[in-house]
Symmetry: C2
Subunit: 263 residues, 2 copies
């Protein structure tokens, strides 16, 4: 496995950010790359199986073959500013943010011309991929250089389904996919504990979906709800349809005030 | 398999109603009971595997060991009025409605004292149980007589999970389980075709849940949305939480009108 530059040995990979998603990246890639983790918030970087990852400074990881930035979208601008002067020519830089328009613009603007860039959105998280990433999807947006196909090849070998798309099309679809999931999860969580006993198969699916996203960190919510330029539109459509439905039920009740026919 | 009265041979069972759910009942029970179908809307009653069921009049099926009324909740009062004088002593009568308070009251009031009654709500439908009923749930409410345990035994042998509960507790929980599923399905269907490509696992679950209920017939919707005495309350809570969420997003936007930080 490799990302072109030196296909003989395991390529070196610097992972910046060891939060919940960064740990998933590390656990997924540790056997395929010579991994170094950079996260000033951690004294040591421990994988779920107990293995320790080598740690390094930003300058250390910036020199490696591949750099993966697993930081919140809101911190990407600051990171790229700091990272840019440290990057070696030919390094491949990737992000993993839940939106793509903004990160692509930031990376294009701030990272030096001598690095290749592929923007990615892994369509899974620590919850949904707790049994492994196989079968999950990842979106790739080409940004700079010719490394997209080799990135896709590596990800496919990990069992991922690769979708190549431009940042705008990604954000438009993600606004519905993630925006609606999180909206519905928030409404349902707000209703209190959901029934678990007399449930239907469809309700069990809803509850499972909510369970997957309800503990997503605020940084993920920020990306989905604020940083995605299309999310406000999707939210408005959701609330407008809810209003229509409510008006319909209210009208029904006015026509037939005896809501419970046995009363 | 049998329902007490005559455990030696296959007991006779009359199924009233051959709609989508009645057909599922017929297909599930045909090998375990001597089945007769009554539905004036059908010239013949064909199972999914092509077998034909014996058909009979209301008077025919009323004489059998077991009578299952698979008709919309809104038609149960009329059916019970017509059926009552035809029923033999010792017959076991069951309904399959999505609510239980109203059907239990109707059956108690209209069916003769000499029949046993068990109210049921199979927590599945032709969509969710298209590969068979095994593993699905069914709620039983005791109404009259001592046959609840033998009904439970038969249903468990079919692979169903049996939950015994009173009608009020059932309707209260079903109002959330089915009410919320259908509300969310309606809002999502209203938003138009849902994305299928760049989807997350949680969104795929939502889409699957919607797919299971979106084609439910109006009679099922009526039971869930109107005949359930607790459904209005659940709807109001859903809409109230949606409103709170919307207000929260609106306030956020006022504080930070630059929705897209790259703009």
């Amino acid at each position: 496995m490799g990302i072109d530059k030196q296909d003989t040995a395991r390529p070196s990979l610097g992972l910046i950010g060891f939060g919940a998603f960064g740990r998933l990246v590390a656990a997924t890639l540790v056997d395929h790359f010579d991994l170094t983790v950079c996260d000033p918030g951690y004294v040591q970087a421990t994988l779920p199986d107990g293995r320790l990852c080598r740690m390094g400074t930003l300058a250390d990881v910036a020199r490696l073959d591949v750099v993966v930035m697993a930081v919140p979208v809101a911190r990407l601008h600051h990171l790229c500013t700091t990272l840019a002067p440290l990057l070696s020519p030919g390094t491949l830089v990737l992000d993993v943010g839940s939106v793509k328009v903004e990160p692509v613009a930031i990376m294009q603007e701030l990272l030096p011309d001598h690095v290749d860039i592929v923007a990615t959105h892994p369509l899974f998280g620590p919850q949904s991929a707790k049994d492994g990433v196989e079968g999950h999807k990842v979106v790739l947006c080409p940004v700079r250089g010719q490394r997209l196909r080799s990135v896709a090849r590596v990800l496919r070998r990990l069992g991922l389904k690769v979708i190549v798309e431009c940042a705008e099309a990604h954000d438009r679809e993600a606004a519905m996919v993630q925006g609606l999931t999180h909206l519905i999860a928030k409404v349902l969580v707000g209703l209190g504990p959901l029934p678990e006993r007399m449930t239907t198969a469809s309700f069990d699916l809803l509850r499972e979906a909510v369970g997957m996203v309800k503990d997503d960190p605020p940084t993920v919510l920020h990306a989905i709800e604020v940083a995605n330029p299309y999310s406000a539109e999707v939210r408005e459509a959701f609330f407008a349809h809810a209003d229509t439905l409510r008006a319909h039920f209210d009208a029904d009740r006015e026509r037939n005030p005896k809501e419970n026919p046995t009363a």
